[in-house]
């Protein structure tokens, strides 16, 4: 009964989504207030039915209802409850339903809290969101129905892929989807503006928080995925330039560009057309990411869907939304009035540079990911585009971004003084040089480029702090005034500082990990000791154990540093009984920001066990940096002027009060 309720709720949601697409947009065209007003209730009802449907799917998973194909294929009665729940979206059908759930929640939020939006804009936004809902619900109902029954029902399920039986599955996909699908809101706003042929500062005020929220979720989602791969896959890497990772990185680059260009639009009324284009790009790349992962067109670690009919369907969705929105853009964008001129050296100019470099980075990832496919389709040649390509191209593009980052926020709007900004950054630059010098001396004989990397990371972090210090009037006013000024700064200023510092922190982690990691590959028997990165590990014992749905052999190591006992670390080889599939559980000990990472392999022919041990200095900064970035986004989101929302139409006539950022 529950699967049928879920299925039926999905069909009803589709009907509502069709109405939600047609009626409000029609109302906006015809100027019919009544038709426009049905949008929000429809969007809320749509959300309600999607929530019901999703809840039904979770329920059949929790009950282990093996009359449902999806549950049979991805669950097992012995699986711990948490993984029964998360297993709901640990498969193609369920993850698509999660996608639609997030879409419905965002749509419902716009409908609920959009009361101060101009009615035509709101009607068009809700309509566009409805159309996305229609496309994805049709996709689910026609090609990926999670509620299909199976007769006769088997007694037991085939269990979830063991790699996915991890807390990471509870966090990573929902966060990632909050990011991907969050860009559907900015996309809907962009299309609504194009349909209407009108765009103003109020539009930007509405779009910026959504873009920020989506970006912050995506940032943490990507970082979480990276950490998950790091500890679960067992070979200590944290970024593989896997197509699936690339799929999430592309919208991140476009989204990062978007949150910056939206600032220019909001504050200076410039870059309107470009902001619209970025909003379209960010969501298009999110869709493309979904397509790459879901269609199985690229085989990679994450791809668990391989049915070509699905691929063709998603391709149709892609063509309709990306092609349609770009065509609409080409047709309607010339109608949008341009505002705000600025000199090349200005805050706006810096943000344009940021946008160009970020867009080119997104292009690098896109081209590198799709090129092998295109080449094979074109002349049958098979080549690989691997990490070396991405490291070189994205690295070359991100280096100037990092170097220019401290300059941007210090430049004045309209016309900036680059020499003056350079002088104000002297202290940061000098300190960064000192840091690089100290590192160069301390690690003599190590990688030559590492000190430069550390210097750059330090410059980015200190540059972000300089911005804040300058605004507070460091060295020019008394400490009391400075404190008062710091307190008076808008939260968005702190947000910028945190987000930029987060990049520097992340960079610090990347440079340290890639330059100074130590690795040890060895065969060890119980009692054997070996050194790695200043530690001494001793294999104490091999311990067979039994878990709820697996058996494993844990290798317990004692850790000593400089003769001091530092406890133990254990890594295990796990066999999941239902699929007879092995996984490696890495053992990780964190010391400050650095980590000791141990993972065991197979039993060796001569007795003993294969061991890979690493010491990764400052490795956690890679993910902490991303968390700091997202915190910056969240802080910016809580800024008063975004909390209050868009100005009411009547207030728009007054000159907008210039925030402190314009000083």
């Amino acid at each position: 009964m529950i699967p049928e309720i879920g299925h039926y709720a999905l069909v009803l949601a589709l009907a509502l989504a069709i109405l939600q697409t047609v009626l409000p947009i029609w109302g906006a065209r015809a100027g019919d207030e009544a038709l426009m007003r049905v949008g929000p209730p429809l969007a809320i009802a749509f959300a309600g039915f999607v929530i019901l449907s999703f809840a039904a799917l979770v329920a059949v998973y929790v009950q282990s209802d093996f009359s449902v194909v999806n549950v049979v294929e991805n669950s097992h009665s012995m699986k711990p409850l948490l993984y029964k729940i998360t297993g709901t979206w640990g498969n193609h059908e369920g993850s698509m339903l999660l996608w639609v759930l997030v879409l419905a929640l965002f749509g419902g939020t716009v409908a609920l809290f959009g009361s101060n939006l101009p009615s035509r804009l709101k009607a068009n936004v809700i309509g566009v969101q409805g159309s996305i809902g229609v496309a994805f619900l049709l996709f689910i109902l026609l090609t990926s129905n999670p509620f299909l029954r199976m007769v006769p029902a088997p007694a037991e399920g085939r269990d979830l892929n063991p790699i996915l039986q991890d807390i990471g599955l509870a966090i990573h996909p929902p966060l990632l989807y909050l990011g991907y699908v969050g860009f559907s809101v900015t996309f809907a706003f962009a299309i609504a503006a194009l349909i209407d042929g009108r765009i103003d500062a109020a539009w930007a005020r509405w779009v910026r928080p959504w873009a920020l929220a989506a970006w912050a979720f995506l940032t943490v989602g990507i970082a979480m995925g990276s950490y998950w791969a790091y500890y679960e896959l067992g070979w200590g890497g944290w970024w593989f330039w896997d197509p699936v990772e690339n799929a999430s990185l592309m919208p991140w680059f476009a989204g990062t560009a978007l949150i910056h260009s939206a600032v220019v639009m909001e504050k200076r009324d410039a870059l309107k057309v470009w902001t619209i284009l970025l909003a379209i790009l960010a969501f298009s790349l999110s869709l493309l990411g979904t397509f790459l992962v879901r269609s199985g067109v690229l085989t990679s670690v994450h791809a668990f869907a391989t049915d070509p009919t699905r691929g063709v369907f998603i391709l149709a969705i892609l063509v309709a939304f990306i092609g349609g929105s770009l065509a609409l853009f080409a047709w309607r964008a010339p109608l949008l009035r341009q505002g705000g001129i600025f000199a090349p050296v200005s805050r706006e100019g810096a943000l344009v540079l940021n946008n160009l470099l970020l867009t080119a980075s997104a292009a690098a990832v896109l081209v590198g990911t799709l090129y092998p496919l295109a080449l094979e389709a074109f002349n049958g040649e098979k080549i690989t585009v691997g990490p070396p390509y991405f490291n070189v191209t994205v690295g070359a593009l991100m280096l100037p971004v990092a170097f220019a980052m401290p300059f941007g926020p210090l430049l004045a709007w309209k016309r900036g003084d680059l020499v003056g900004v350079g002088q104000r950054l002297m202290a940061a630059f000098a300190l960064a040089l000192v840091a690089a010098g100290v590192v160069a001396v301390a690690t003599e004989g190590g990688p030559v480029l590492a000190p430069f990397g550390i210097g750059l990371a330090a410059f980015v972090i200190l540059g972000a702090v300089t911005d804040l210090a300058e605004r507070a009037g460091l060295g020019r006013v008394s400490p009391g005034t400075m404190l008062a000024r710091l307190r008076g700064l808008p939260r968005a200023a702190y947000g910028t500082m945190l987000a930029h510092a987060g990049i520097g922190i992340c960079l610090l982690g990347i440079v340290a990990e890639t330059s100074w990691s130590s690795e040890r590959i060895i065969g060890a028997k119980p009692g054997d000791a070996f050194p790695v990165g200043g530690f001494e590990l001793r294999l104490e014992r091999l311990e067979p154990r039994t878990g709820p749905n697996y058996r494993d052999v844990a290798a317990v190591f004692s850790v000593r540093r400089g003769g001091v006992e530092e406890g133990t670390v254990e890594s295990s080889k796990r066999i999941f009984t239902a699929r007879n599939m092995p996984t490696t559980e890495a053992g990780i000990r964190t010391f400050g920001f650095s980590q000791l990472y141990v993972s065991v392999g197979d039993e060796l022919p001569g007795g003993g066990i294969g061991v890979r041990a690493y010491y990764k200095p400052l490795v956690t900064l890679i993910w902490l940096g991303a968390v700091v970035m997202a915190l910056g986004g969240a802080l910016s989101l809580s800024d008063r002027r975004l909390r209050v929302g868009a100005p009411k139409p009547a207030r728009r006539k007054q000159p907008a009060a210039l925030p402190a950022a314009a000083e």
């Binding site: 593989f240 867009t359 292009a363 080549i383 585009v385 691997g386 390509y389 197979d602 294969g610």
Partner: protein, 168 residues
């Protein structure tokens, strides 16, 4: 894909999937000479495990990756340079084995594309700025009449420009 090839590939994939995940680099593969071992590791990262999904032979558990790692080490021990090792494997398995796309043919486009996008963007911005600079909506200089009105406003404000005027 033709049927035999497809079957072969399926067989290889199956073999890769069924093989117990040995560790990527096994202790018994490690060369005694640390310098040569470091070279072997660097080369391993540049080589793809062809039956895996986007893994280098350095990361992969598959038996094929192990074979390739051993071949790399054997070639190095035989005195090959890094480039010779790569050439040897390309001759055997085709360019598919290289993680770093080569710099010839259509691949040049691949390498240049991101920078092409950047240059196109810069060109677009410059073109746009020039068009706007010369366009009708460039801010016209104040007419004599406007100058006089502005002067009057400034006088009325006591010789100082009104605060919001400076910020406009």
């Amino acid at each position: 894909m033709r049927a035999p090839a497809a079957r072969l590939l399926a067989g290889l994939l199956l073999a890769a999937a069924l093989a117990a995940p040995a560790h990527a680099v096994q202790p018994d593969e490690v060369l005694a000479d640390p310098k040569m071992e470091a070279r072997a590791r660097d080369l391993s990262r540049e080589l793809r495990c062809m039956v895996c999904q986007n893994q280098s032979i350095d990361d992969s558990d598959a038996p094929l990756a192990r074979d390739l790692r051993i071949i790399v080490r054997e070639r190095l021990k035989a005195g090959d340079s890094d480039q010779q090792v790569l050439d040897f494997l390309v001759a055997r398995y085709g360019e598919f084995v290289l993680m770093r796309p080569t710099w010839h043919g259509a691949n040049v486009l691949l390498w240049l594309a991101p920078f092409g996008v950047l240059l196109a963007g810069i060109a677009g911005v410059l073109l746009y700025a020039r068009r706007r600079g010369a366009g009708p909506d460039r801010q016209a200089p104040l007419t004599p009449d406007e100058e006089r009105r502005l002067g009057r406003l400034i006088d009325e404000a006591g010789g100082k420009a009104p605060a919001d005027l400076t910020k406009l």
